[in-house]
């Protein structure tokens, strides 16, 4: 497979870890001194995040990373509310232990995986991916995980397995957003089996060298970097292999706006807004124009062959 690395951003521009950690160190120190106690609700106190390192990957982009605060503070996770900061406020209350993922459907060895077992299933890699939201903004995130294919191979899909569905947890106690029928809960997303087996599709457990914060989909999520962000299901409790294309949450909510494939494609607009450009969070904004969106979010060399002969305007 041909792997091209965009090298227009010199490594010197990448935020060194010591710098991005500084603010959190400050917050921790302030917390220790009790300075922030009067202004912070109890659940907003950062837990001491567990380290989760990963070996470097050739799939990583060298673009400038989006700040940790923005990656963890500006999220779409409707189970915790529709505001961008709702997930960072409400998600910390969700318990991510014990946790297990049921793998079932068209596989030879259907069974439940405990989260500890999943964490040890394959060596962790750090993958710095572009992340493009369907709302026309983007980030660069250093995810930690291993190829989803590692898990799929172990459960041995049968000949009938053509698609994979990912189901997100529903817990009305902590997921306050699920008390309203904003989407048809539980949130289900899906991929074609060959998409799920692609080396870029990442079963993800961490970011920035630490375990995932809850608002980013803890304890386990998928990251499919050539598709719009909503395709990458978070806080997964079930992975089902099936013959038929699964019915997915956003597609059911608005079929004309969110297709099953939802590959990043600057030429196919969302019916209500253009997808030709995107705003890189923390970089494009005041006094910098939005940047052009790349076909398959810049991963065309790796994934375009998956869609040979398909009309991507129809199968958007």
């Amino acid at each position: 497979m041909l792997i091209r690395k965009p090298s227009d951003v010199p490594p010197s521009e990448i935020t060194p870890r010591s710098v991005y950690l500084r603010r959190r160190e400050f917050v921790k120190q302030a917390l220790a001194l009790g300075l922030l106690a009067p202004v912070m609700p109890a659940h907003a106190q950062p837990a001491t995040a567990q380290k989760l390192p990963g070996r470097p990957s050739a799939f990583s982009t060298t673009e400038k990373l989006t700040k940790y605060e923005d990656v963890t503070g500006y999220c779409n996770y409707y189970e915790f509310g529709t505001g961008k900061s709702d997930p960072s406020v409400y998600a910390p209350r969700m318990k991510t232990r014990p946790w297990s993922v049921m793998v079932d459907g068209a596989v030879r060895s259907k069974r439940e995986f405990g989260i500890e077992e999943l964490l040890k299933l394959a060596p962790m890699e750090e993958r710095v991916y572009r992340h493009r939201c369907v709302e026309a903004w983007s980030m660069v995130v250093p995810w930690v995980g291993y190829p989803l294919a590692e898990l799929i191979k172990r459960v041995e899909p049968t000949a009938g397995a053509k698609y994979v569905a990912f189901t997100t947890r529903v817990d009305p106690d902590t997921m306050v957003g699920t008390r309203l029928p904003v989407l048809d809960w539980p949130y289900v997303e899906g991929l074609r089996l060959d998409e799920a087996m692609h080396a870029l599709a990442l079963l993800t457990f961490g970011l920035y060298g630490e375990v995932l914060p809850n608002q980013n989909g803890a304890p386990v999520r998928v990251v499919v970097p050539w598709k719009y962000g909503f395709k990458s299901a978070k806080s997964i409790v079930r992975i089902t292999f099936m013959e038929q294309q699964p019915r997915t949450a956003w597609n059911m909510a608005a079929p004309s706006e969110y297709g099953f494939y939802s590959n990043v494609n600057p030429e196919v607009d969302h019916p209500r807004w253009s997808q030709a450009r995107e705003r890189r969070i923390g970089e494009d904004g005041f006094f910098t124009p939005k940047r052009k969106t790349l076909m398959f979010n810049g991963y065309a060399d790796q994934v375009a062959s998956l869609y040979t002969g398909m009309d991507l305007r129809k199968l958007f």
């Binding site: 700040k67 605060e69 923005d70 503070g73 500006y74 409707y78 529709t82 961008k84 900061s85 709302e135 903004w137 904003v182 989407l183 909510a253 608005a254 607009d269 209500r272 807004w273 253009s274 030709a276 705003r279 969070i281 923390g282 904004g285 005041f286 006094f287 124009p289 939005k290």
Partner: protein
């Protein structure tokens, strides 16, 4: 009913003026200190749009409130509120043209033609300009009865404003629905009043004109 004196009215107007500037001050401060979150352009767009709708509702509330309470002096605040609505919609439009689209005329033309929420928003923006331009006492005298005809466009503008908000949200329509209810209520009050007056013999349509004379 209590009526403010000259100095009291001046004081009320000054306070209102300052209050209407608070959202703007907050945005200026937020931009200067990078305190508008991860996506400041989105924050500015949302805030200016929200306050435009809020102030449009406030201008529409003046007449029903005046009729219900007899506080006729409220009418003297309406122009300022309306002009602030225009101030915020101009900021909203500039945010779109400059910070969002970066003066890309082709892209904006496509947006306006292709995307219903931008079409109605842009139309409402255009319709609001003549209202702002004819808000002075001199223009009001010059236009006579036509002044009211021009300013009745505010009803359409408010409806378009709500549609603009409603059609752009992805899934959670709570906020546009609240604005929709408020606008529907404020227009409904007017409609039911005008229907009742039309039903009264001997006063065909006189109520609306009389209602606008400040001396009532």
């Amino acid at each position: 009913m209590w009526q403010p004196g000259r100095t009291q009215l001046a004081a009320i107007k000054s306070v209102l003026f300052a209050l209407c500037l608070v959202p703007f001050a907050h945005l200026v401060w937020g931009v200067a200190y990078d305190a508008l979150g991860a996506n400041p352009v989105e924050a500015v767009t949302r805030s200016t749009g929200w306050w435009t709708l809020f102030l449009l509702c406030a201008t529409l509330a003046v007449t029903p409130l005046r009729r219900a309470t007899g506080a006729n002096w409220l009418l003297k605040l309406r122009r300022m509120i309306g002009l602030f609505a225009y101030f915020y919609v101009v900021l909203h439009f500039l945010t779109y043209v400059w910070l969002d689209q970066w003066f890309d005329v082709t892209a904006m033309a496509k947006d306006i033609l292709k995307r219903p929420y931008i079409t109605v928003g842009f139309t409402a923006f255009l319709l609001l300009a003549p209202l702002a331009a004819t808000s002075t006492d001199a223009m009001r005298r010059r236009l006579g009865r036509n002044w009211q005809r021009v300013h009745r466009f505010i009803y359409l503008i408010a409806i378009f404003g709500v549609l603009h908000f409603w059609w752009l949200v992805k899934r959670d329509i709570t906020e546009p629905a609240i604005f929709g209810l408020v606008v529907a209520g404020l227009l409904g009050v007017r409609l039911s009043r005008s229907l009742r007056q039309r039903a009264l013999p001997g006063r065909p349509g006189a109520g609306n004109l009389r209602a606008l004379s400040p001396g009532e």
